[in-house]
């Protein structure tokens, strides 16, 4: 679960985010909708704890993350929050397998190659474990990014515009993937998107209206 209360943020005095109230149950599936510039990415960063809002309360998995020290926040994020970035940002110097182990290592978890292999297998990537990211197709790379986000069984899974620039068929596949993986680890899912095609597939929706 997570809850936001009266969260506001501004860049250089220009308000970019205003969330009066948003509550989500553990395991709930959400879409965060809004036009470009409405603060979707900013809100995602706030939920991920990589950006502290100027004001308001943010709680994730029963933890008031505004109260955490920076280094406790890093640890908390590594263990409890999985993020699939819009541009994926896999680490090209490391193999697919090591990209997953890196997530465990950086989160301070015991490295568990069996768990990593299990996730790769569930995403049909078992044979890509030793491949380097640049050797993968875009679809495969996207699945690796999802795998890296869920390998620590997060309580909250965030995805930033995962379906933009995808054709209809691929769009459905990626959405299924995120929904299935979120369910598999019981994570609350938030997909930030302006993609109208996926609206009907996700039960809960939160519309950002912009800060003004």
């Amino acid at each position: 679960m997570f809850s936001l209360h009266d969260v506001q943020h501004a860049y250089d005095g220009e308000p970019v985010l205003n969330v009066p109230e948003w509550q989500a149950q553990q395991g709930a599936l959400w879409l965060m909708l809004g036009p470009s510039g409405s603060g979707k990415t900013t809100l995602l960063h706030v939920l991920a704890g990589i950006l502290r809002p100027a004001s308001g309360q943010v709680a994730v998995a029963d933890q008031d993350i505004s109260a955490l020290s920076p280094s406790a926040m890093d640890r908390f994020r590594g263990k409890n929050i999985g993020i699939v970035l819009q541009r994926l940002h896999l680490i090209d110097s490391l193999t697919v397998m090591n990209n997953l182990l890196l997530a465990q290592y950086m989160a301070g978890e015991t490295q568990n190659p069996a768990r990593a292999r299990e996730v790769l297998a569930s995403l049909d990537l078992a044979d890509k474990a030793n491949a380097r990211p640049h050797e993968l197709s875009h679809g495969q790379a996207q699945r690796v990014a999802v795998a890296r986000a869920v390998v620590n069984k997060p309580k909250l899974l965030l995805a930033d515009e995962p379906t933009s620039n995808l054709d209809d068929e691929r769009c459905v596949q990626v959405l299924d993937l995120l929904l299935n993986q979120a369910k598999a680890c019981g994570a609350t899912l938030v997909i930030a998107t302006h993609d109208q095609r996926i609206k009907s597939r996700v039960p809960n929706q939160y519309a950002l209206k912009g800060a003004a």
Binding site: R75, H89, N98, L101, A103, A107
Partner: protein, 403 residues
């Protein structure tokens, strides 16, 4: 997966650049190690050869030449000294030990030293094969000489005049090898040893001698000459008496090995300092190159660093990652450089042995090499400091929002 494997993966990912930096650092380190090894060994060997010799008495001339020719056998003598006066000095109460040397000839570049058994005892020489010389024209050869000239017991050879190979050959009196010494690491390894009488015998034709075996009795005392006298003092007070006594009362001069070798090292030291400066410039430019490489890589890696933060990495972890990368690079370069320095020293030692000079080997380790490794590591860490600090300051949200 740990910081080392991640650093290594990044170093591998830009292997050409990594290789270049390692090579640059290794070159500088190798030069430093070469200098350390050669100077340490030269210093050690020179000390060993001069050990227990407090004073050298030779003919007037350059005192350094006296030392170089009589202790290290690296130079021609300044001349000869009269036998009678050396006898007086030998009996002086300030003298504990006086070893006579008669020089002048060589065999294929190896100095032939006419002396007494006291000379062997002074260096603690042990005979590996055969025995010590007894009769005139019997020779005992050093281990290096035996190996290099392939001389065996019973072999005969002719000495030639001077220290080079172009001197006039003494055809009439061949030496016979009666003993080969064990390697001792001292100057004895590379000389041919025989009695003083053998050396006199070579030049006996000037004095109309028939039986060279009895030459000591046939020569008048005034006709006998030594080249030098190696002196050990009876007491520290002798240092105040004997040099003055020699320099004032004779045609001879007294040279102090300690003083002259120190002077020699201070002359060589200038060259060593120049080379060391050059090596440090190499190490410094390697550090600069590592810095530039890491700094540039940081730009390509800003998303990687931001992603690591989203995966839970603390700023300090990224700082350590970058420092580790610099350290790893430096340690690889340092270890390679030390290995290279040893190899270079061995090659140089080989060339020196061929040139019949003092021997130097790469198969030895000296403690100051740990400092060289520490220097390399320090350069790596310092070069990584600023990049590491920038990694520490990575603004995750800002970086990710832009990409």
């Amino acid at each position: 997966m740990n910081l080392a494997t991640i650093s290594l993966a990044y170093l591998k990912a830009r292997s050409l650049n990594t290789l270049l930096n390692i090579l640059l650092l290794a070159l500088g380190i190798a030069t430093i190690v070469l200098l350390l090894l050669t100077t340490a060994q030269l210093d050690q060997r020179m000390r060993r050869d001069a050990q227990g010799i407090d004073l050298v008495i030779g003919a007037k001339g350059s005192p350094m030449q006296v030392i170089l020719s009589s202790i290290y056998h690296l130079d021609v003598p300044t001349g000869n000294i009269p036998y009678k006066q050396t006898q007086e000095i030998s009996k002086h109460r300030a003298v504990k030990k006086a070893i006579p040397l008669a020089l002048g000839d060589s065999y294929k570049g190896a100095r032939i030293v006419g002396t007494t058994h006291a000379y062997l005892d002074h260096y603690g020489a042990k005979v590996a094969q055969g025995k010590r010389w007894e009769k005139t024209l019997e020779a005992v050869i050093g281990a290096d000489v035996a190996k290099r000239m392939n001389l065996k017991l019973g072999n005969k050879f002719h000495g030639s005049h001077g220290l080079g190979e172009a001197g006039e050959v003494h055809e009439e009196h061949p030496y016979t090898v009666v003993g080969i010494l064990e390697p001792s690491g001292s100057v004895l390894d590379r000389v041919v040893l025989c009695s003083v009488e053998s050396v006199w015998a070579m030049h006996a034709s000037h004095h109309d001698i028939k039986d060279i075996n009895d030459i000591a009795n046939q020569l008048k005392d005034e006709e006998k000459e030594y080249t030098a006298l190696l002196i050990q003092y009876a007491s520290p007070v002798a240092a105040a008496i004997l040099p003055r006594y020699v320099n004032n009362n004779s045609a001879m001069q007294a040279a102090s090995p300690a003083y002259e070798t120190a002077r020699l090292f201070s002359i060589i030291g200038v060259g060593v300092d120049v080379l060391r400066g050059f090596a440090l410039v190499l190490v410094f430019s390697a550090g600069l190159s590592v810095f530039i490489a890491l700094y540039n890589a940081l730009n390509e890696r800003r998303y990687d660093l931001a992603v690591m933060r989203t995966l839970g990495a603390r700023p300090g972890t990224l700082l350590l990652l970058l420092l580790f990368e610099g350290l790893l690079l430096a340690l690889i370069g340092g270890v390679l450089g030390i290995a290279g320095g040893h190899a270079l020293t061995e090659v140089l030692g080989h060339a020196l042995r061929l040139a019949q000079q003092v021997s130097v080997t790469g198969w030895t380790w000296i403690n100051s090499e740990w400092w060289v490794l520490a220097l390399a590591a320090g350069v790596g860490v310092v070069a990584a400091l600023i990049p590491a600090w920038r990694a520490y300051r990575t603004d995750i949200a800002g970086t990710l929002a832009r990409g």
